[in-house]
Amino acid sequence: MLTGDQARYRIQGDFIRPSYILRRDADKYLPLCGELIRIYRRHAGKARSELDEAVLNLEGERTDYKIIRGLAKLLEESCEFRPRWDMEFPLFRERVFSIVQKHYPVVSKPDLLHPRLRVDVLSEIAAETGVPPEEVEARLYGDLPDNCILFSFRSDVTAEGLLKRYNLALAQAVLYHAESARVRIRGDYRTVFQYLQLSRLMHEIRKIPEGYEMEISGPASLFSNTQRYGVRMAVFLPGLLLAKSWSMVADIKTRQGRKAFLLNSNSGLSSHYSAAPEFDSKVEEMFFNKFSKKKRGWEIQREGDIIILEDSVFMPDFTFRSKDGKIVHMEIIGYWTPEYLEKKLSKIRRAGPDRLILAVNRSLNCSRDDFKGEWIDYTTGIRIKDVLERLEQVAVRHLPFSSSR
């Protein structure tokens, strides 16, 4: 991500917009990105100060130097810098200074009172420490950031990839000053919630006709507006980008007051995070493929719905929809640790098992008392016949969905 001062944006009226590099400017910036990547590759094993100098040369008298610095910052995230020598620098300095203090001051112009020349002192240091005299000066502060070398540059990024990362980073940098964000989303819930959790953000969620709407903020947002969680939102953004259909409005605090930052799935930004695997297990995948192969009067959806609980959300593995609009969910319990099972069962109990089918792996040895609703068991694969039977039973009751707390 960029540093705060590398952010580039425009404020127009009530809105704030990152100054993205647009497709029409790509001719100008793709070669620049390519050159910058080449500079980093070329400087493997060279001093950081040389690398910085090369980037500075690329900046030259250009007025868009801020862009170059931002691009370089992103490349730097793949760099590892290390001192050129593997040694204890503070210890070496201590030894050097204690030798030198006997000859204070080290002079380049000797006189009668100060006959010891710098070169003489250097060779004494060399003799006592085993460091070649011509290297003493370089090693003295060899652990300074500027004197470290680019040990490795681990990135296979292309010029185009870098440009994409940069545009994403510009959007992230605007979010640094976000106080809250409203996100509307349809589908890909597991991926998005996983990244929401990883970014340590909290949400308040409600159902809307087009899916779900979440208000995103952090723990202390409860008491007052704060930009504290802006960086967390920036970390979350690439996770959100993995969803196919979403939109976001973030409230950004600026010197000109609070401005809205709008972003949606058509904004053209791309993510470098990886999505949650589509299926948690082989059993789920096999069942889904088998079920959706034929027309059965029920349409199966992966992650079709969220059940909103008082204090959290429950995302059933599958949702079935009938032609006449009936909805039934299914959850597969195939894996377990005591805590996981306890948490899941508590959620299922609160989600209201009325319209939920559970498929439970027989090896878990669950008892009838554990679940109130309909459940089937399986060993290696879930039988379609069992599921269809339950679907009809549940649907026939025509119960309105309700949670049982």
Partner: protein, 457 residues
């Protein structure tokens, strides 16, 4: 984490207090129900009040939030206090160990902080505006109590019973460590009133809080916010009440040096570009004019060239060969003394350090090495050292009796005043302060002087 069967559990989570297992229909005092996950939450800084309210209402809870304890803080050497220091501590204790002490620079604020720590003997976080001040507190705490002090910031991430940090690091990390400290000390408290920094005390459960500053009041009146999270001003003394107590005298010697011919040519070439732009566009150095110029440099090619020319001018100025020559003769002259050299940037500090083979202290120097170097300087084993950033208050070395400032051509009064602190001397011997001034072209001097303290930023 559920509370035990009878009591609700109070925890510190991600910067706020959470109460779990509250069974009554009435709200717990000072908590708010979070609609997002139906938990009771409260800002961390209300911890002491919450405990008090629970006690007053005879409500029970299991406190899992409290992560602080006795720290074993005992002075290695008994400290004698000045009357104003003793009064300040008493006033703070009388106000339940919460509030700010306002004392002029150089009158022993740090000692007040150390005494407060010893009096409460609890896990303490000391928060400072700069790495230099953080380092200084590290030295003082380590020396006073003989303990391993933790450091959060400047490359360290090490939490101990007593930890020093900066405002920036505290702001970033206190949602993790806000439960670990019973006492917070804020050095230069007036910085705390900035909206973001104000969240630092909010994120901590510390029941005891001490602010230390010489200038409590801010022009923007934001200091009124401090009372809410820190407590009121409990003690204040003006400089005229204390004059003559501690600051020593020193002599200032100004040494003019000249640029070498090559340097001068380079300087003048760049100066023509820069001054030309400034004149043509009437760049002003006040009322936002300078910021405008910087902004324009990201759009107008001429402005960009002018800015680069200015950078080059400064570089020539700051790193003039003459400075090396004069330093060599000053070192010869003061070979029996204790000399600190101040530069304006790290690059020059390290160049001089490598050239003369003497220790350099900059913000890159880690806290522990810094202490080792200063200890050796104090003992007289090292007699020369070079450091950057004249204006910072971070170096406090009474043993030094010669200071050399390798400056530009202007001489802001305040840096001379601040150096008075560095050269505090016990033995009545007068300290000397050399100011090495590079004589640029006449026009260059004018331009520099006009910029005033900008040259020392």
């Amino acid at each position: 984490m559920e509370g035990n069967e009878d009591f609700p559990a109070l925890t510190f989570e991600d910067g706020v207090l959470v109460l779990r297992g509250w069974r009554s229909d009435a709200s717990p005092p000072l908590f708010r129900l979070d609609p997002r996950d139906r938990n009771w939450r409260s800002p961390a800084y209300l911890y002491a009040e919450i405990k008090e309210a629970f006690r007053a209402n005879e409500l029970k809870m299991e406190d899992q939030a409290c992560g602080f304890s006795t720290a074993g803080l005992e002075f290695r050497i008994r400290q004698d206090l000045f009357p104003h220091q003793e009064e300040a501590l008493q006033a703070w204790e009388d106000r339940k160990h919460r509030g700010s002490v306002v004392l002029p620079t150089g009158t022993g604020k740090t000692v007040v902080g150390l005494q407060a720590m010893a009096a409460l003997d609890t896990s303490t976080l000391v928060v400072c505006p700069t790495l230099d001040l953080m380092n200084q507190w590290y030295d003082r705490i380590t020396d006073a109590f003989g303990i391993e002090t933790g450091i959060l910031g400047g490359g360290f991430h090490e939490i101990r019973a007593v930890t020093v940090t900066t405002y920036d690091s505290a702001f970033r990390h206190l949602d993790r460590y806000g439960g670990c400290f019973g006492l917070l000390i804020f050095d230069e408290t007036h910085h705390l009133a900035a909206p973001t920094y104000l969240q630092i005390p909010e994120l901590s459960i510390a029941p005891y809080r001490l602010g230390l500053t010489a200038t409590y009041r801010r022009p923007d009146a934001r200091h009124v916010e401090l009372a809410r999270v820190l407590g009121p001003v409990v003690y204040e003394k003006r400089i005229r009440d204390l004059k003559g107590e501690r600051l020593s005298e020193y002599e200032i010697v100004r040494i003019p040096v000249r640029l070498a011919d090559g340097e001068r040519a380079l300087y003048e070439r760049n100066q023509a570009v820069y001054a030309g732009y400034v004149k043509e566009n009437q760049v002003r150095y006040f009322a936002g004019g300078w910021e405008k110029f910087i902004r324009e440099s990201a759009g107008k090619p001429e402005a960009r060239k002018a800015l680069l020319a200015r950078t080059e001018m400064r570089r020539v100025f700051h790193r003039a060969q003459a400075k090396y020559d004069i330093l060599e003769s000053l070192f010869k002259r003061h070979v029996r003394d204790r000399v600190i050299v101040f530069t304006e940037d790290n690059a020059l500090a390290y160049d001089l350090a490598s050239h003369f083979l003497i220790p350099a202290l900059t913000h890159h120097t880690d806290t522990r090495e810094r202490k080792a170097v200063l200890d050796r300087f104090r003992s007289g084993e090292y007699r020369f050292l070079v450091t950057s950033k004249v204006l910072n208050e971070g170096v406090d070395v009474p043993e030094a009796n010669v200071a050399v400032i390798l400056g530009g051509s202007a001489s802001p009064v305040e840096h001379v005043q601040r150096l008075g602190r560095i050269l505090r001397k016990k033995s009545g011997k007068r300290a000397i302060l050399y100011e090495v001034v590079v004589q640029g072209t006449a026009e260059g001097n004018v331009s520099y002087r006009r910029r005033g303290s900008d040259a020392y930023r």
